[in-house]
């Protein structure tokens, strides 16, 4: 495993192009494009204000930079550095900006969700979409880029509009049976749209592409409901994580619950392997604690850690959330399927330092990873069943069915890994710190614990 040197970035804006060749990072108001393998700077663009959001177009030729405060969006071309494009939303403000799947339209959500403006870079035409819903996930594009589903709310009712991305033709517009639609997501095969309600009501609705309601699923009433929803890459399963600390799996044929995964505080009677991160502090000499040493020699605080396999029964650390506050830190908030749909990684918010890995073939728990601090981010390798996670310290953790490994990021000055992104080839990882980024190149042979 090789680590590159550390580069500057701001706002955690660092993305690899869809074709995997370039790495774009934002440093304040500059956009830096590097080559992924050599990390040499290929292009450097300067925007008008601090970049709030940056994204690649699907053909990896253009980059969109949005500056929300100014209400501006600037689009840069990789092939033609001279080409420029500036979109000004005016006084209406800008809340979010995104590409369309064909890479030729920019969709801007204005402030207060007043409308969505669709800017065409081909024709400079503008279209508006009214009444977009202000919710967790109101827009989703299907994977093949043909259709866009948009959540709308008119007269206190939820609607879903399906647009054809080619020419923004409204294909279907139907009302949903939700109280307060919180999100929608296309299945990977693009034929089913999953729509779920807010946490006040547990309800998942499945609509076919042509707007017919296929099925409704509701596990229970009254208690706080759905926290997160994700599709399996093969579209076979829909995983629903809820506030009752359980994940329910629906199958695509009957849309009924196949199984549910529970996250108990005490694990016993399971064939899963429980990995526990154990830290080993290096001995500190008392005469060495001069200020100079403390500030400079941060290797003093770089503790070694390794994974130990814990024998059952295992007690996991639980943090009880404050019952009086809204959006309590309890329930399954993060779900991720591996690319081959074999594994599902989940995180339960009141056991924030534990990542659970479930085997979807056996429908049982495969592994439990207990870290020393709260897990901030985990992501599956796009090519193989390998999970990378970080907890905000200087280490990178990798899990694969063969074992578990903890790697220290070898940088001076203490690089705290806040989030990570896999390269689409699965050969490298982009680690993002607070103001820094670092690339980690994987060996082709996976290290085992």
């Amino acid at each position: 495993m090789n680590f590159s040197e550390v580069f500057k970035q701001s706002n955690q804006l660092c993305k690899v192009s869809p074709d995997g060749k370039y790495l774009a990072t934002c440093v304040q108001y500059r956009l830096v494009v590097r080559d992924v393998s050599t990390l040499q700077i290929l292009q450097l663009y300067t925007c008008l204000d601090q970049i709030s959001h940056m994204d690649w177009a699907s053909d990896s030729l253009f980059i969109l930079c949005a500056m929300y405060k100014r209400g501006l969006v600037q689009v840069w071309s990789l092939e033609q550095p001279d080409w420029h494009c500036k979109i000004d939303e005016g006084s209406i403000g800008l809340l979010s900006s995104r590409w369309s799947p064909d890479g030729r339209h920019v969709l801007n959500t204005t402030e207060f969700h007043l409308r969505i403006t669709v800017w065409s870079l081909c024709t400079k035409a503008v279209s508006y979409i009214k009444y977009p819903k202000a919710c967790q996930k109101g827009i989703d594009f299907s994977r093949d880029g043909c259709y866009m589903a948009l959540a709308e709310r008119r007269d206190c009712k939820d609607y879903v509009s399906v647009f054809v991305c080619d020419d923004w033709h409204l294909l279907r517009h139907f009302e949903t049976e939700t109280q307060d639609l919180a999100g929608l997501e296309w299945s990977p095969n693009g034929c089913v749209l999953a729509v779920w309600d807010s946490c006040l009501e547990y309800k998942v609705l499945l609509y076919s592409l042509d707007g017919r309601l296929l099925s409704t699923y509701s596990a229970y009433e009254w208690s706080l409901g759905i926290k997160s929803v994700t599709w399996c890459p093969s579209s076979q399963f829909l995983a629903i994580g809820s506030y009752d600390e359980k994940v329910r799996i629906l199958n695509h044929i009957t849309w009924k619950k196949v199984t549910q995964f529970e996250h108990p505080a005490t694990i016993n009677n399971t064939k899963a392997v429980v990995y526990k991160e154990v830290e080993r502090r290096p001995a500190v000499g008392s005469d060495d604690l001069s200020l100079h040493n403390i500030t400079i020699g941060t290797t003093l605080f770089n503790t070694q850690s390794k994974y130990e396999i814990c024998p059952l029964p295992v007690q996991l650390p639980v943090v009880k959330p404050d019952p009086d506050r809204a959006n309590p830190k309890i329930g399954v908030s993060t779900l991720a399927f591996s690319s081959d749909s074999r594994y599902l990684a989940t995180k339960n918010d009141n056991m924030a330092s534990v990542v659970w890995v479930w085997d979807m073939q056996k429908m049982s728990l495969e592994a439990v990873l207990e870290q020393t601090s709260a897990v901030r981010c985990f992501q599956w390798d796009p090519q193989r069943p390998r999970l990378a996670l970080c907890t905000g310290n200087t280490k990178l953790y990798l899990w694969s069915p063969a074992g578990c490994v903890s790697v220290q990021v070898p940088t001076e000055g203490g690089f705290q890994v806040q989030s990570l992104n896999w390269h689409c080839s699965g050969d490298s990882l982009i680690l993002l710190g607070k103001e820094q980024l670092c690339l980690c190149y994987m060996d082709t042979d996976q290290e085992d614990k």
Binding site: H84, D88, R104, D167, Q179, D210, I253
Partner: protein
Amino acid sequence: MGEWWTTVPIGTSMGNYDISSISHVTMSPLRQNNLVSMYSSLPLSKSSYNVISAFCTEDNIPQCISYMNQELASLGLSSTCIEASSPGGAGLSTVPALNAMYELLQIHRRNMGTLEELEKEQLKKSSSMEHMQMNNSRLKDQLELSIREKSGLHETERQLQLKIKTLQSCLKTEKEEVQKLQSIISSRASQYSHDAKRKERETAKLKERLGQLLVDRKDKKLAIDVLNCLGRSDGKRSHWKTAKATASHEGEMYKSLLSDYEASQRALMLENAELKKVLQQMKKEMMHILSPRQLSTRGADSDGEEKAGNSSRETLDQSCEHAREQLTNSIRQQWRKLRNHMEKLDSQASQVQNQLESNKEVIPRETHEDEMERMRHEVQQCKEFIHAQQQLLQQQLNTSFDDETAALLNDCYTLEEKERLKEEWRLFEEQKRNFERERKNFTEAAIRLGREKKAFQEDRASWLKNQFLNMTPFTDRRRCSSSDGQSALSISKFVFKFKKKYADTRFKSRSRVRCGDLSIFSLGEDENSLT
């Protein structure tokens, strides 16, 4: 009863009504009076306690007799009448008197007998009564106890009932509370939704207003500033929006949906076919497993029929629901049979296993015990052997290291040497003695030689004298002396020999004395050498 008392002479009775003197007699006052009067006829000097003995006296014999007759008649012994032996006399006719007495005795005995019986019965009855009383008291106690128990149980039952009631009421209250809470929640939810909707409408209005205002304002217009328009990503030209386009979009959408459905249907069909195949195989195998056994129990007809029926039906269209149902039913049936068979086998197997286990326990145990015996025996032998060896070794070790035995051994060794030494001493002594003897012989020989030498010297002297004398003209004597001369020659030879011998022996004897050599017989050699 007082009737016949009237015949008693009254004269004697009227005087005395002393009732108190006969207080122990329990009779009616009339009779008492009469009896008093009768008994007062007795001489008053007698005490009141000797009333019965004072019944008959010399004076009142006839009255007594008549009284007795009356009494006897009243007792039913009318046959015997006591008569006076002689009228006015003091005697009685014995026969009737004795009869009367005998009868009285009989009566008395009978009375006693009945009395005994009555007493016995009375005892019995009293004991039974006691028993009954005891029983009664015991049963009363029991009854009391059971009553108390019953009351206790009643009490507990009541309490439990009470508890049940309270719990039920609690449950009811809880249920009511739950319902209430649910209704509260629902009402609050509806309230919230209503409020939220109201607020939403407000914000929608605000947004509209804002939008209007923003659109109306001209200062900051929204615009796009592009250097040059881009081509479409797929390189084609954009099309006009026409109805045909919409239709084509719809068509596209339906196409994609259909293709997805077809794909899933294909997958399901494949899965279905595989599962059916598996089921069929399972069924065949199950039938196969069951059939050889069932052929022995039942006729093969039913099974064979089933088989044939099934196979024929299955050759029909397999997607037909009827066939599917049949397949599943037949599989269920076979599975049931197999399960029963397995259960039977299981029970049999467990039985056999129990047997086997018990057998196993017995047989191996025997062999095990034999083996154990043998091994113990072996072990014992080995132990003994080792013990013996150890002892011997100990002995041997002890003999080399023990002082006494060492001394003994040493003595043995010195003894051997001593013996040898003795032997050698003996030899030495012997040799010494021999040597002494030789020496003695030799000295004797030397003395003899000395003497002979002296004799020889004398002889010589005389011969020489003779010779000298002879040498004178005495020639005659030559002839005579020739023999003498011969004799002289021989004598000179002899002297010569003798001298030599003497010298030699002297020399040799010295040397022999020095050497101690035993070879004395070398004298003979010299003798030989001289001649």
